[in-house]
């Protein structure tokens, strides 16, 4: 991953921090998110995504950020995806969006969505600085606040870490006594 060029590295004042080892996969966060932003319980439109690996007994929350270099901002051809100058949160200017869906593919966390019914891009806005998901999460797997740079500096390394964890458990799984 060392060949990724940092176009824009920024200090993030507050962010969603995930500890996947605490997540039980209950998806209350998805429910609360869709209730808050869509007025109904519809996990498919939640701005974050819990991936459950039932075969491994592992659950991994995917949330927006922390992205010191934001691929969604970099890729947007019309500058509809931007960073808020103060909060440094990436956000979508819906009026400018041409629905090219580049950001959907570019998001390293896979949490930018296309709503195929209303034809719009759906993107987390950290609930304007008061994230619902962090408030409802019963285990503390998602928290919100400033964190040391150690936790945020290497987003891609973190994902590699996830993958290694899956591989490790996979190995365990494969050596079953069958």
């Amino acid at each position: 991953m060392s060949d990724i060029i940092d176009h824009e590295v920024v200090y993030l004042p507050s962010q969603l921090i995930v500890d996947f080892s605490k997540c039980t996969g209950c998806r209350i966060c998805e429910l609360a998110c869709s209730a808050k932003h869509e007025g109904k319980f519809q996990p498919s439109l939640a701005r974050l995504k819990i991936i459950r690996y039932d075969d491994l007994g592992l659950d991994i929350p995917n949330v927006c950020g922390p992205c010191e270099t934001a691929p969604c901002v970099d890729i947007c051809p019309v500058f509809a995806m931007r960073r808020d100058p103060i909060t440094k949160m990436t956000y979508l200017d819906e009026d400018m969006c041409i629905l090219c869906k580049s950001c959907v593919g570019a998001c390293v966390n896979g949490v930018i969505l296309l709503d195929t019914v209303k034809m719009r891009i759906i993107k987390c806005d950290h609930c304007g600085g008061d994230p619902e998901c962090a408030k409802v999460c019963p285990t503390g797997a998602i928290t919100y606040g400033p964190d040391t740079s150690l936790a945020t500096v290497d987003r891609h390394g973190k994902i590699l870490g996830y993958l290694k964890e899956i591989e490790r458990t996979d190995k365990v799984h494969g050596t079953g006594a069958e």
Partner: protein, 629 residues
């Protein structure tokens, strides 16, 4: 349509391969709410009496309730309903996980599976894209493999898969349906129903929404509900050790079923207790949909003969059924046994209990190596348990007989083996004992599906919760009502708990936080139901009670149609004749008759026949059932 419902019933007829979408009858909502209630109504109307549970005429219903898929705590439960292969009467099996919520997001409150397919298929529901897909290449696979294969086929990890394993295919009478690997619809043999219909699996994926009547009010109360769970000390303990915490409690009160219920005290209990297991074996905590408690534990065995076993579970019932019940004091064995049951798709309680039956019959000389095909059955033999489970799943050798459950096995063996078969109405007794807990004796005897611990198990009396008991049943019934060794007032406790659990099963929410620990009860349901549905009728506890009474009586009528009467509301002699040999409950036996009479009186059932009276039918608006007898 009222809030919370999708308003649609999806039917699939396997015989002609056609799907049909029907409107959910609005007039079902008030009298039946959803879940179990809808299932009972539909099954009673559509199933003729006397049909073969494994025949083409039987139907299997997967039902959800108005709360399913919302953010109310523990809203991921689903129920599978059918005429039961194990008992030939009312069959239902509730299951956690995510299946029910996904069914609703796909747009359906109920899925009704009818007819029989010629070839193995799997039912594929993806929103409105409905397909029967060929499953010939999946037949024979264990449940974990089918689930993975279907997710791969669909290229979507979020598909919820309900699958049967080899046990369901071979119609083991207590075959289960496994939801995404480790959530089991275990009891009464729902897996055998799917197997008889040549359905290997049901795959569901939905992108839609569940909308409630008053979102703001709902969210406020739901968040408060989650906080009540998160701050409850017992619930907090359960997030650490799940139901394993029960082992120490049961041992202390002398009700940890041991050696096929011969005693309630197990010397090796410590190695099966939560405090022992968690630090040694648990590698992860997991939850079902919308659950802030998270009682599911992922466990791993590092060394010994079962090294490398990675599996969720077992629950308390698994530690009992593969542990104390068989004299095995080893967690690794119970985990391995649990894994085999999950993969083959078999109910843990019935499997363990049927094996315990065989061991006791062998040890006491009623059966011999001639019957077992050369196996020397004995208590505490770990490898033998694993072997027997595999033989049952394959219906191989002696496993063929054990696959029929303890009642049928005893009937075919004869020689007085029936006294070792711990069942009621054909369903094996769960991990409780009426001798040390009188109310469960009544619950086991009267449960619609047989010896059931989920429909009416009163926990408050057993553990002596005076404050809760006073609030629920009134100070005048204390102290008797919380004395586990007396029959007095136990019918009241069972009646009221069964009613509350009925509503729980129509919403549908999890057993935990309703039945144990006591966090939510009728008054909470009376608040959340109107917020969800907009139906004010649900805001009165007495109305909910009437709905619950209707449901219990409707299931009773279903069973009556199959020939069940008072004579079947019985217990194995062990509980009524053999005094508890040791422990705090030493010398106790159950006197069922007075409790039965009290219970029938409260239910409005005839004291001699145990059948609902004419007046009761009228009072509960169940006269329509007469047209279907």
């Amino acid at each position: 349509m009222a809030g919370g419902y999708t308003g649609k019933i999806l039917r699939v007829n396997l015989t002609d391969g056609k799907f049909k979408i029907e409107t959910l009858p609005e007039e079902w909502i008030k009298p039946y709410i959803g879940g179990d209630g809808f299932g009972a109504k539909l099954l009673f109307e559509e199933l003729p009496a006397g049909i073969d549970p494994l025949g083409e005429q039987n139907k299997l219903i997967i039902a959800t309730g108005p709360i399913t898929g919302t953010m109310w705590p523990m809203s991921g439960r689903t129920v599978l309903i059918s005429k039961a292969p194990l008992t030939g009467i009312w069959g239902e099996s509730h299951v956690g996980g995510f299946l029910g919520a996904e069914l609703k997001y796909a747009g359906y409150d109920l899925l009704v599976i009818e007819g029989k397919s010629e070839e193995p298929v799997y039912i594929d529901i993806h929103n409105s894209d409905l397909q029967l897909r060929d499953a010939k290449n999946k037949w024979g696979l264990t449940t974990d493999k089918v689930t993975t294969a279907i997710k791969k086929d669909k290229r979507d990890p979020d598909v919820q898969v309900a699958a049967i394993g080899p046990a369901g295919e071979r119609k083991v009478r207590y075959a289960s349906v496994m939801i995404n690997h480790a959530r089991a619809a275990g009891r009464t043999g729902m897996g055998a129903v799917l197997g008889s219909k040549n359905v290997k699996a049901i795959a569901i994926r939905g992108h839609g929404a569940v909308e409630v009547h008053d979102l703001e009010g709902f969210m406020k109360f739901a968040k408060e509900g989650h906080m009540r769970v998160r701050t409850n000390p017992i619930a907090q303990g359960m997030s650490k050790v799940g139901t394993w915490g029960l082992v120490a409690v049961k041992q202390e009160i002398g009700e940890f079923p041991t050696y096929n219920h011969q005693t309630g005290v197990f010397d090796g209990w410590e190695k099966l207790s939560g405090d022992y297991i968690r630090p040694r074996h648990t590698i992860g905590d997991r939850a079902c949909f919308g659950c802030s408690l998270g009682c599911k534990k992922v466990n791993y065995i590092k060394d010994g003969p079962f090294a490398g076993t990675l599996e969720e579970g077992p629950e308390y019932e698994g530690l009992m059924a593969f542990g104390s019940l068989l004299g095995i004091d080893d967690f690794a064995t119970t985990l391995k046994a649990n894994q085999i049951c999950n993969r083959y798709g078999m109910d843990i309680i019935s499997a363990g209990s049927t094996i315990a039956f065989a061991i006791e019959a062998f040890v006491k000389g009623a059966i011999t190596e001639k019957d077992t095909g050369g196996l020397k059955l004995e208590w505490g033999n770990r490898e033998q348990l694993i072997k027997l489970l595999e033989m049952i799943g394959e219906r191989e050798g002696f496993g063929e007989l054990l696959a029929e459950g303890s009642k049928r096995a005893a009937d075919s063996l004869g020689r007085g083996t029936d006294k070792f078969a711990m069942h009621v109405k054909g369903m094996e007794v769960s991990g409780q004992d009426g001798r040390t807990h009188r109310s469960i004796a009544l619950g086991h005897a009267t449960g619609a599906r047989g010896a059931d611990h989920l429909r009416s198990l009163v926990v408050v009396d057993q553990l002596g919760y005076e404050d809760v008991a006073t609030k629920r049943w009134g100070a005048d019934k204390l102290p008797e009502i919380i004395d586990p060794y007396t029959e007095k007032y136990k019918a009241n406790a069972v009646f009221e708990s069964e009613n509350a659990y009925c509503i729980r099963d129509t919403l549908i929410v999890c057993w935990y936080t309703v039945s144990w620990p006591p966090i939510f009860w009728m008054d909470d349901f009376a608040k959340i139901l109107p917020l969800t549905t907009g139906e004010n009728y649900f805001s009165k506890v007495e109305n909910l009670t009437e709905i619950a009474e209707r449901q219990v009586t409707l299931k009773r009528l279903f069973n009556a149609r199959e020939g069940i009467t008072k004579k079947d509301d019985s217990l194995p002699d062990r509980f009524t004749k053999d005094p508890m040999p040791e422990g705090p409950g030493k010398g106790q036996v159950v006197d069922l008759e007075p409790m039965l009479r009290d219970y029938y009186t409260l239910r409005g059932w005839d004291l001699e026949t145990g059948l609902p009276t004419e007046n009761t039918l009228k009072r509960l608006s169940l006269e329509w059932t007469k047209a279907h007898s």
